[in-house]
Symmetry: C2
Subunit: 191 residues, 2 copies
Amino acid sequence: MNRHEPSPPPLIRPWRTIARRDLLAAPPHRISVWVETVELPDGRVIDDYYQAALADHAVIHACTADGSLVCLRQYRHGARRVGLTLPAGQIDAGEEPLAAAQRELLEETGYRSSAWTALGAYPISGTQGVATAHLFRAERAERVAAPRSGDLEDSLVETLAPAAIDDAIARGEFLILTDVAAIGLARLPPR
Amino acid sequence: MNRHEPSPPPLIRPWRTIARRDLLAAPPHRISVWVETVELPDGRVIDDYYQAALADHAVIHACTADGSLVCLRQYRHGARRVGLTLPAGQIDAGEEPLAAAQRELLEETGYRSSAWTALGAYPISGTQGVATAHLFRAERAERVAAPRSGDLEDSLVETLAPAAIDDAIARGEFLILTDVAAIGLARLPPR
């Protein structure tokens, strides 16, 4: 008796949301904040787990036939500076992420592609979720129109030769986490 | 007269924030939402540009001497599922991002490294900023203690052999955008 039995391997189980209290919602701006009461697997109850939601967005890693990356030089207020971004934009209500990606690539850069691959969909925050970034690769992109995004940001389309991409990252030219994530994911071997 | 002169090349200029109205602040939870009045370079004024801030965080791409990646299997409420994450955590007030990364690696995994490189700091949202993710690489990490994170999440430390990482990404096992971004950035050639 009192001998120690080996413990069973711990099982990682999800939490359960048992209540939700809304704190802020601005639907035209697609932003909301709320507090959840969550129950952990061990039975503990946490009554102040904050969550926030912004619009989901599509991010496009588009390359031309020679492998150049289609980028924008623009000011992004989230970064408070001017630099490089990948084409990206909010997914409209009811819109498929791929359709949003195709629309944003054309609107923001004037490029179009008929070779699209999903690179994954990831929440931008592990704690609050916040938004899901849907990342896509577009190959053999061709310029078919002038850009006309209608966005608040002025922007210039720039194509980066493959050999220039790592340098641009190392110099800190890419502004946003989604962009470097998409560049990394686009380099995984095709499956 | 009336001849079209070539336009000067457009210059990408930053916006200017001319007013700010706070909507929500929960300092213990490090979350705030506010509306800015911003002036665009062309003089337009936008009086409802929503911004949100959560805690900045450090994310650690730590490899052992044989190149295995130190991961956690855990439930993350932001993703609403169980999967793989990299060690990561909030940067405490007044704490240096590197110090936070070193602390979180030890607390969450029991691993320590003396070979650290910064992989960059990126806002997680181009529009709202939200939080800056500070990404780090740690090499030749060694297990020196038992994990004791004190986090709400149960977690298991798992090391992934180099050949298994791309498969895990392709299967969607990694939960959060910061993690795949750090994996991509850690593969850039050292400079």
